[in-house]
């Protein structure tokens, strides 16, 4: 073997532009398994265990530089790298889709550095790294959902000082969050926050669920899977153990409600799922389709069809 690649080289950030196949087959010792060195993994693993023991509390950790920009989910990548083993099957989604640049790059990164199997099927994955969605298919006991988190502190926009937010968490003093939600009601007549909607975990810590749509919030409650959250830039890890009470904050006279969609998915006909608007032409034509591409494709393969299936508007039965 000639000179080993520099593990700090930023190559994996752009695997698609790389003509070489993203196979598992780097020269031995070129990377440590899953990129991170063992000492870094131990440090992250200890942070994960404390996060699990204190549900919803943000554990500080010494985040490492990763060979990709912060906006690409370096916190989630580090958490995934620390938990991943050779027998894992990894799925990576970005806003529900497996095929975006970000998801493809992260999947390629772990294929390359850990040689793990990857999948787009929610049911086949043992570890799912996600940016901004929870899969539609209910998660199961042995699965780990790793969230990429840009801003972990639910109080950050209300109180910029870290020493102050730590104190507020220590005292469980969450009046500010309620005031913010109540201002929504005063201004809009309802709670207008639709993403990163704050939750209370196990009756104690208020937590930012990352910018998932509030539609997904109920999926966090009593979820059989383990949910781990990694914020790279802000160097925080937090967790929701399986079967933990997760309550979206609300008021007696303004109870928490998820978004509802008037139409079913135009491709697979699913109702009760989160839909994205797709612009069809410049004359205002549009349709709504599942944000979760695996869920939509699985349903179509099972014979479920929506109004735009096959590309023919109005052709559905």
């Amino acid at each position: 073997m000639s000179a080993a690649p520099d593990p700090a080289a930023p190559d994996p950030a752009t695997p698609e532009s790389d003509a070489a196949p993203a196979g598992p087959l780097l020269p031995e010792l070129a990377y440590n398994f899953a990129y991170l060195d063992e000492q870094t993994k131990r440090m992250i693993r200890r942070a994960i265990l404390k996060a699990i023991a204190i549900p919803g509390y943000q554990v500080p950790f010494a985040a490492r530089e990763m060979p990709m920009p912060y906006g690409w989910g370096t916190g989630g990548v580090q958490v995934t790298a620390a938990v991943l083993g050779p027998d894992d099957v990894l799925k990576v989604i970005d806003q529900g889709a497996d095929d975006t640049t970000n998801a493809v790059a992260i999947r390629g990164f772990f294929e390359k550095t850990a040689g793990v199997a990857t999948t787009t099927r929610t049911s086949e994955a043992s570890v799912i790294q996600t940016r901004h969605r929870i899969p539609e298919q209910p998660l199961t006991e042995r699965q780990i959902l790793v969230y990429q988190v840009p801003i972990p502190e639910p109080l950050r926009f209300l109180e910029p000082r870290e020493t102050e937010t730590r104190q507020l968490h220590a005292l469980a003093e969450y009046g500010l969050v309620h005031v913010k939600l109540y201002e929504d009601i005063a201004r809009h007549g309802h709670i207008a926050t639709t993403y990163a909607y704050p939750v209370e975990v196990a009756g104690r810590y208020v937590m930012d669920p990352s910018p998932i749509p509030k539609f997904d919030n109920p999926k966090m409650d009593d979820c059989p899977a383990l949910q781990l959250f990694g914020a790279g830039r802000e160097k925080r890890i937090y967790a929701i153990p399986p079967h933990t009470r997760v309550r979206s904050l609300d008021f007696d006279d303004h109870p928490f409600r998820v978004q509802r969609f008037a139409e079913p998915c135009a491709m697979c006909g699913a109702r009760g799922v989160y839909l994205d608007e797709v612009i069809l032409d410049d004359r205002g034509g549009r349709m709504f389709v599942c944000s979760d591409t695996d869920h939509c494709e699985t349903r179509q393969a099972e014979g479920h069809h929506g109004g735009m299936w096959g590309g023919a508007p109005g052709a559905a039965a």
Binding site: L49, A202, H243
Partner: protein, 212 residues
């Protein structure tokens, strides 16, 4: 008292081997511990391929080798501290500083749980940083009511679906009261990793335990 030093007492000691494969051995042990703490009272299989010096058990050794390094002061209970080979083994494989003062430890190994010190002597973290707390690794005989000095507990809380019956031994007769005292400190507190032959179970500070 500063760190205990055994170096002069064991000049020619060659420590027993650690994990057969340090990367995957550590990963597998971590994953078992991760699930154990995620689902309190549900023992996870913990296969081990190392043979540490007595009275350190293979399972406790696997947990500590997977998680400890120079950043984690480690405390040994008197039975372990009395065996210089144990200290040499742990220093060699982890680089963790061994501390005589339990309050200074981030990890502690308890080989004789019946004589376990009160949880309150270990670091419980601060209100601002409750994670700055000790993790106690206990060496037990088994996770059944038939284990010697087994205590039966009823568990609830995060990670437990409804309620769960859990038995493990040997544990002190007042373990339920000790766990309740620890829970009363939440979010401060210590976290327990219980090991037994071939398995590991977790009792994180979040668990609500009652005598069953």
């Amino acid at each position: 008292m500063p760190d205990i030093s055994f170096e002069s007492a064991t000049p020619s000691y060659v420590p027993a081997a650690g994990f057969g494969d340090p990367v995957f051995g550590a990963q597998a042990a971590f994953r078992a511990v991760m699930w154990a703490l995620s689902r309190p009272g549900r023992p996870e299989p913990l296969p081990v391929d190392l043979v540490p010096p007595a009275p350190l058990s293979a399972e406790a050794a696997a947990v500590v080798l997977a998680l400890c390094d120079h950043e984690t002061p480690l405390w040994l209970d008197p039975a372990l501290a009395a065996a210089p080979e144990v200290a040499a083994f742990l220093r060699f494989h982890t680089g963790a500083p061994l501390v005589a003062e339990p309050g200074a430890a981030r990890f502690a190994i308890v080989s004789n749980p019946l004589d376990m010190l009160d949880f309150s002597v270990f670091a419980a973290g601060s209100p601002d940083y409750p994670d700055a707390s000790a993790t106690l690794v206990l060496q037990l005989d088994g996770f059944t009511p038939q284990a010697p000095a087994a205590r039966a507990l009823r568990l609830e809380g995060p990670g437990v679906e409804g309620a769960l019956a859990f038995a493990a031994g040997p544990l002190p007769a007042d373990i339920a009261a000790r766990l309740a005292g620890n829970r009363a400190l939440f979010p401060r507190g210590v976290d327990l990793i219980l090991t037994a032959p071939g398995a590991v179970a977790g009792l994180p500070r979040s668990v609500v335990a009652r005598e069953a």
